[in-house]
Amino acid sequence: MATAAGTMPAVGSHTGLWSWLTTVDHKRIGTLYGVTAVLFFMLGGLEALAVRTQLAVPNATVIEAGRFNQFFTMHALTMIFLAVMPLGAAFFNWFVPLMIGARDVAFPRLNALSYWVFLGGGLLLVSSFIFGGAPDAGWFAYAPLSGKTYAGSGMDFYVIGLLTLGLSSLIAALNFAVTIINMRAPGMTMMRLPVFIWMTIVVAFLLILSLPVLTVALVQMLFDRNFETNFFVATNGGDPILWQHLFWVFGHPEVYVLILPSFGIISEVLPVFSRKPLFGYTAIVFAGVSIGVLGWAVWSHHMFTTGLGTVPQIVFSASTMAIAVPTGVKIFNWLATMYGGNIRFTTAMYFAVSVIVLFTIGGITGVMHAVVPVDTQQQDTYFIVAHLHYVLFGGAIMGIFSGIYYWFPKMTGRFLGEGLGKLQFWLFFIGMNLTFFPMHFLGVSGMPRRIYTYDAGLGWEMWNMVATIGSYIIAVGMLAFVWNFFKSMRKPATAADDAWGMGATLEWATSSPPPEHDFDVIPAVHDRDPLWYNRDHGITPEPAPAHLHIHMPPPSYYPLVMAGGVLMLGVGVLSHLAVTALGVVIILYSAWAWILEPTD
């Protein structure tokens, strides 16, 4: 998407590498997030392919056991923290200001900082492959496996990498929370916000409130591994279960952080391509908020087999079942939105509809795990792997691709090819079902997750082979997307303001791609679907004044410098204290310069 720069007005500092390093424009930062995340997505996909190749046949020797542990751990970390979360952030960056009618986010330079810190943290995490081996204790890093007795330096990269990425997410989440609460266009009340924006603010608050818990757990692990504390070391009075609790207090809200952006995206796509307003807007919004609140009360359902005791099991089982209610509300509202609509089957719509189907499958297996005896049987089997991939691939990734196809004309001025798009959709849809559905069978027949190989004769050969074939089909689908992307970017930018001819929300009221200041005139909002209201009431937008006097914040390189300092803090913990000290100096210097930098 980097070539999108060519479509920006070619004014002095607005082109070239330097302009990307110093940009504070939310659209460019969104593009940076998006491109980086897609690259990480492909890296995570390669890691998954390695895992699936090793498991294709019994007693395979493609990758040895230790490497295998690193690959499945890094696959999870890459997909969660370096692909799905930043892809969500890419859409937040691009469309929060556009959809609420603002010229930028509340804190443009903080926005740039969060991207650069993310990039540093991501590279740090991935670099562990070169420096003594990647993390290998699984993405939830249970003690004592993650302790210094059993895990090498990879787990230190895990701790530092996640602390850095957590800082980036916290900064971004604070920024978006403030932007949505405070920067809405006149008339854009909270109950007129597009559902995507509502899901964004729920995600932002989930991150703001859950990341500190992860930070504490990671710091304790860091101290256990490096400063001889015994938080999770049972021998000396510690308790490995404490790690599990703290991790899942963060981890469960994190699951909603991954899935809610996708819910928001399809809540935008479905009404537009059904040419009907969203059915039950209020119900969908409150369902999203209650998922966010209830998400805090279910974390121990990941830990039923640790022996919680009867009462906690009942409480967490009940709260987990309760969360199915708001989720069901959403599903039925989406179906009702399509019911009786004049549906246009674009690629974006294909992906959106598939989310409803696939997420329902993943959701139902999720409710199964709320039943303690069932969960005890399925804990750590491939059934769980099937469940979580139906939620994260079928729910999150398919939703994100729906968003990419839907908003691509707005972001670049060009449409992605529908033919290749539908090819990609079918490859993804068939591939993911071939990969993940057999895992239900494997899990029920007892195949544990995270084993690097298995003997013949256990009845697992066929379904493992099917799953591996499916994963290669997904990879081909991704190649179709990459081809589609480059093919579209070679064409001229011809998309109209309202590229699909039926956009309801404010981003379709400005040019494609939008000017740096987003809107020539900040639009006034009278309805939940402002553009449809204006069309039906014959309201034409105010013409742009002949001379625009809009000052946007100037570019700044201090976010980049400060992110460098943050990265050095982390690198210093992993290498030498002097590097940390230098990092502190750089942070202090850039903070001081940041404050004094003129912003007009």
Partner: protein
């Protein structure tokens, strides 16, 4: 949060900058009150109020907390949305704190129980060295005297933990944490096991006898995984 609807249509409202209506005199008064409460807290903590001490101290510190937030941080005079955000975070933190503590309540008492048990066993074992050795098993540690005298010995084993444990007495010169491991257990074919007690249910006791020669021994529980979780203790025989 929809209270801003009214002025929505035309232009966004200006940022309010109303100043709180209290001045330095009141601030100093509040400072004095906070100091007095702190003094009362100190007095309470040294007093003999018994069971009342904890609730009284919690209430007093809550009062200080609220006074600082309401007046020093101006929350009482500020936009109600700020109060809502902060209170939501604070209530969530408190709720998670209470949930975690109640989830760990049982475990904590077990840990505390074995601390005294271990000390106890050590004292007795030391006194009766050469004849009887008491061993306490728990999650996940082996409590026993570190030294014994060569000769006949009886290991009296009690499982103080919540899950089954067993005991293996191994004569070895390896460090206690460095025994050969395979498949989650210490490989008993590679070491010299001089005495063993089969799996004991929680609360059960058992015993085994052995003739100890001078040298280094390690006591372990060889239920899969337990050794790695720290269930070993060194025993030196003189």
């Amino acid at each position: 949060m929809t209270s801003d609807m009214a002025h929505g249509e035309a232009q966004l409202p200006e940022v309010e900058h109303s100043l709180p209506s209290i001045g330095p005199r009141q601030y100093v008064m509040i400072g004095v009150i906070l100091t007095v409460i702190t003094a009362i807290e100190l007095w309470v903590s040294y007093s003999s109020l018994g069971n009342l001490i904890i609730p009284v101290l919690l209430i007093l510190s809550a009062v200080k907390f609220i006074v600082v937030v309401a007046f020093f941080m101006h929350l009482r005079f500020d936009h109600p949305a700020l109060t809502r955000f902060f209170v939501f975070g604070f209530v969530l933190a408190t709720a998670i704190l209470f949930a975690l503590i109640s989830l760990f309540w049982n475990d904590a008492t077990i840990i505390e129980g074995t601390r005294q048990e271990t000390v106890h066993a050590a004292a007795e074992g030391g006194a009766a060295a050469g004849a009887k050795l008491e061993v306490a098993l728990g999650e996940f540690h082996v409590g026993a005297a570190g030294e014994a005298v060569a000769g006949g010995a009886e290991f009296d084993v009690k499982n103080d933990g919540a899950v089954p444990h067993n005991l293996r007495v191994i004569k070895t010169d390896l460090a206690p944490e460095a025994l050969p491991v395979g498949g989650g257990v210490v490989d008993e074919s590679q070491v010299e096991v001089v005495a063993s007690v089969a799996d004991l249910a929680a609360g059960a006791t058992g015993s085994a006898t052995a003739t100890l020669a001078a040298g280094s021994y390690v006591l372990i529980c060889n239920v899969p995984g337990h050794y790695q979780l720290g269930m070993y203790a060194a025993l030196t025989v003189h």
